[in-house]
């Protein structure tokens, strides 16, 4: 264990997602050794993001204004909505340059064992967006794990009476990996996704 302030920093860093105790220690000592101006800039960026960044009132994506860049862009197809769990998924899909519609960020996935049900996600907001009948296709791009699949199942059933085209990404295969190295369950999911897209 270290002196109070250093240990404090390690503890705080350790609360961040994906940061284990060893990484927290590594980052803390990096900060200690760094130029004070660099550290100030980092601290400022942390504070600024909390002050300035909001969530888009339409899609729930992070935004610098009331509405995000994508919702404000008139070139984006208003008939297609891609549903994702987090804002970082929007970034990942944007990088593919394949998708020209709009997004809806749920803010997570249904996980009953963690006490997270449909009411804890931005599902009511999604239903409100679908109400005017302008949207014709809903792409369910929740994560290719159990919670993501369950969330997609829930949403597909919920919007069924609306008669939309509902599709699911054939995701889950390791990016850049050979098919023969993918495990059977993941591979099965990808094929299932492909069939769904054909519907």
């Amino acid at each position: 264990m270290y002196e109070g302030v250093v240990q404090n920093l390690i503890d705080e860093l350790g609360l961040l997602p994906g940061v284990g105790p060893k990484s927290a220690q590594r980052i803390a000592f990096h900060v200690l050794a760094a130029d004070p101006a660099d550290v100030k800039r980092l601290a400022h960026a942390l504070l600024e993001v909390k002050e300035k960044v909001r969530f888009c009132r339409i899609c729930g994506n992070v935004a610098a204004e009331d509405e995000c860049r994508i919702c404000r862009d008139p070139r984006r197809d208003p008939q297609v909505i891609c549903v994702v769990e987090e804002s970082k998924d929007v970034v990942a899909i944007e990088k593919t340059r394949e998708f020209r519609g709009r997004y809806h960020v749920l803010g997570g996935a249904i996980s009953p064992i963690d006490g997270i049900g449909p009411d804890d996600l931005k599902i009511r907001e999604l239903m409100a967006r679908l109400a005017d009948g302008q949207v014709t296709e809903l792409i369910l791009a929740t994560d290719p794990n159990l919670e993501g699949e369950a969330t997609a199942t829930y949403l597909a059933r919920l919007v069924k009476p609306m008669g939309l085209k509902v599709t699911r990404l054939a995701s889950g295969l390791p990016v850049g990996g050979d098919l023969e190295y993918a495990d059977e369950v993941t591979l099965g999911r990808a094929f299932e996704g492909r069939r769904l897209l054909d519907v």
């Binding site: 009953p112 963690d114 495990d183 059977e184």
Partner: protein, 278 residues
């Protein structure tokens, strides 16, 4: 036994550090085990999706000082694949996993009967032959019985009198008019009959029950379960009643009990299972 092999059902997964997960597994021989799956969250992990909740797996572990380390996994049945496409079945299954995790408190204490119940319960849910909430209530009642908390259903829990009136959770089941504590629920006789059918595996009777008695049964069973656990089952709040399945009555002409419950009278009928417990 520094390296050991077992089969089990994944009850829950929790993130650990950068790329690992702690996997809680209910195993056939070892009981409840918590093992680390290293690197499981990386896309290229050799474990892939095999260690997700509901998976019935064959696995090899290395016994560690605090947590065991999972070294090999093979899928026997990925029950999650079947459950996740049907929301009511998925939520019922989640409540089963959470309940087993909570009822079995000690780690590495053999819990063969709970393991067999879990396997039978998941198989039944995945087959879709009975309403998920009935399967869940049967699982709850039988898990409680295995844990030693079977509710009295056919005679007053206090005095043994045959004519019963109410269901008193704190008294341990049905009670007669004289023993009935203030505020105890007075369910329909059909509801008590349904609970008996679910506990014993009389699916013909359970499937033929009316919706209102199923709802009443679920309420009583959930209250009884949570009273014994002294804490709520979080996923229970999200279990859905709605079921889009086909009419299940008569789907199983052999009258087989799919959860594979062995009612105490028949308990000695599986000598090899009894031998495995030791």
């Amino acid at each position: 036994m520094s390296l050991y092999r077992d089969e089990g059902v994944v009850l829950r997964t929790q993130k650990l550090g950068e790329a690992d997960r702690i996997i809680t597994i209910l195993t056939r021989r070892t009981g409840k085990v918590r093992g680390v799956a290293k690197g499981v969250r990386r896309t290229m992990s050799r474990f892939g999706a095999r260690l997700e909740p509901f998976s019935h797996v064959d696995l090899q572990l290395h016994a560690g000082r605090s947590l065991d380390v999972i070294t090999q996994v093979e899928t026997l049945r990925p029950y999650g694949e079947a459950l996740v496409t049907d929301y009511p079945r998925y939520t019922a299954g989640t409540a089963m996993l959470e309940t087993a995790d909570r009822l079995i408190m000690g780690e590495k204490e053999p819990a063969l009967r709970q393991f067999l119940l879990m396997l039978g319960g998941l198989r039944t849910l995945a087959e879709g032959t009975h309403e998920p909430r009935l399967v869940l209530d049967a699982f709850f009642l039988r898990s409680l019985a295995v844990a030693g908390y079977a509710p009295a259903l056919s005679g007053c829990a206090r005095c043994g009198a045959e004519a019963v009136r109410a269901f008193a959770i704190a008294s341990g089941g049905v009670v007669c008019g004289a023993c009935r504590p203030a505020g105890a629920a007075v369910p329909a006789a059909e509801t008590i009959a349904l609970m008996i059918a679910l506990l014993r595996g009389d699916w013909a009777a359970a499937d033929a029950s009316e919706s209102r008695h199923r709802t009443e049964c679920s309420g009583l069973v959930a209250a009884y379960l949570q009273w014994h656990l002294e804490q709520g089952i979080r996923s229970l709040r999200h279990v859905e009643r709605e079921w889009a399945g086909r009419d299940p009555v008569g789907r199983d002409p052999a009258g087989r009990d799919p959860i594979g419950w062995e009612w105490p009278e028949r308990r000695a009928s599986h000598p090899e299972e009894a031998a495995r417990t030791r």
